[in-house]
Symmetry: C2
Subunit: 243 residues, 2 copies
DNA sequence: CGAGACGTTGACCTCCTTCAAGAGAAGTGG
DNA sequence: CCACTTCTCTTGAAGGAGGTCAACGTCTCG
């Protein structure tokens, strides 16, 4: 569960005691191939998930085939903490790359929260961040132009890749096809292609297979009006106020 | 806190013991005039909120003035349960009508959860539902046409008004100007106006001041491809009396 | 080497925006 | 009670951002 530890350290001063508590978390690993579904709409999951490796996407497909991606999940992301009140999932989670997740049993999670430990608080942070990402997705798709959307999402993913320990400076592996980008941004893949090429020609980005490099991050930020406050990653340690 | 009780009864069999626990919740009422902000972006709220009366909106305004509403809050809605890990709010909450909220102290909320009571579980339900509404907002604005969006949002608000005990059959008070609708749906208010008139002429809706009447709900549902599963209200122990 | 996924590009079209201007409704102050 | 401002709603005309359709190129992998 290296990805989890790395992540939680962003949100709390994890000490030996907390580490031990986390290591003792009951659950198990499961692997999914690229394209497989981790959770299907209508299922009733009884575990929470931690992404250990790979990227996944939460998405909804309408009856006529239109598809919308709600958000992406990177290594270290925790999701479905609401298993306490398990109801049918209203969406699907699909592996983009091959994915390894750790499934945490409901009971184990509960005891972590009940203890009022820092580790429990860190889980809350994860939930908070995930909701904030959803909110930003609404703003991005609701009130930004295609250009702004593409630039904004790229900056978000780069930032999150760094947090996940998967980025090398300005370059990172972004294993997302243009069609997936389109489904995330509410655009057609043809238009996403045009915008990407435009950003490329403007010298903002460079792409080589799945490796994306930000050649001019300042410019991108300006285009996207990007402010990473919503990722809630600045200076967290002081703020933990659980219990 | 009538609005809260009414709401929680949708999500759990609240007994006398739970009722007592809820009535003992520490906190207080606060009133806001229409247009006032309950929470400003950048503030650090230390309480969770329960809407007792009136409608509010969670919204983000971009630097250039474009504004996006994330979701609407109706009586009985609970929000900002994540105060445990209080960070700066990344959005603003504005009163649409005059609003009365109950502010719950962090500590009080915690003890409710720790007890593992039904009342605590009901709060989790509220959080789950709110997130689901956010997700649906992404799908709606990302992959639906203007017509579909308007119809879909109207159906959602009608359903939620019923849950909040504020709807009389097919009619309900929807105190939302066309400009606000536009900000919620990522459209221009001019176009919202046109779509509303179109739905009116098609005999689907009727509007009289803030009172909206669904004249042909079946048709609306067809237009919107509306399925209220995401509101998570079907599987309750209590039978939903859908007047 | 062939199949299938993914990316690229052009032509045309449409849904929605923007601009503009006017009509009601509603509050405000004299 | 009437002039006033100020919202909100309404409607038309023109333009543009992005969608759709179609065809072709490229990469990967079995």
């Amino acid at each position: 569960m290296d990805a989890l530890f790395r992540r939680l350290r962003y949100y709390a001063d994890i000490g030996d005691r907390e580490l031990a508590a986390l290591k003792a978390l009951k659950g198990g690993f499961e692997d999914f191939a690229s394209g497989e579904d981790l959770i299907n709409r209508g299922e009733r999951p009884s575990e929470a998930f931690i992404v250990e490796k790979g990227w996944a996407a939460r998405n909804v497909t309408l009856r006529d085939g239109r598809s919308q991606i709600l958000n992406f999940m990177l290594p270290g992301d925790v999701f479905d903490l609401q298993v306490f009140v398990a109801d049918k999932a209203d969406h699907t989670i699909t592996a983009i790359t091959s994915v390894r997740v750790f499934q945490v049993e409901r009971r184990a999670l509960l005891s972590l929260f009940d203890g009022g430990t820092r580790a429990g608080a860190a889980f809350w942070w994860c939930a908070l961040q995930e909701e904030a990402i959803l909110r930003e997705q609404i703003v991005r798709n609701g009130r930004r132009s295609a250009r702004e959307r593409v630039a904004h999402l790229i900056l978000e993913l780069h930032r999150r890749a760094i947090i996940a320990g998967e980025a090398e400076g300005e370059s990172f592996v972004m294993p997302i096809s243009q069609a997936l980008l389109a489904d995330a941004l509410g655009l057609s893949f043809v238009h996403v292609n045009r915008v990407l090429r435009e950003l490329h020609h403007a010298g903002c980005i460079e792409r080589n297979r799945t490796i994306l490099t930000l050649k001019d991050r300042a410019r991108l930020r300006e285009i996207a009006d990007f402010d990473d406050d919503y990722l809630h990653i600045k200076d967290n340690r002081r703020r933990l106020v659980y219990a």
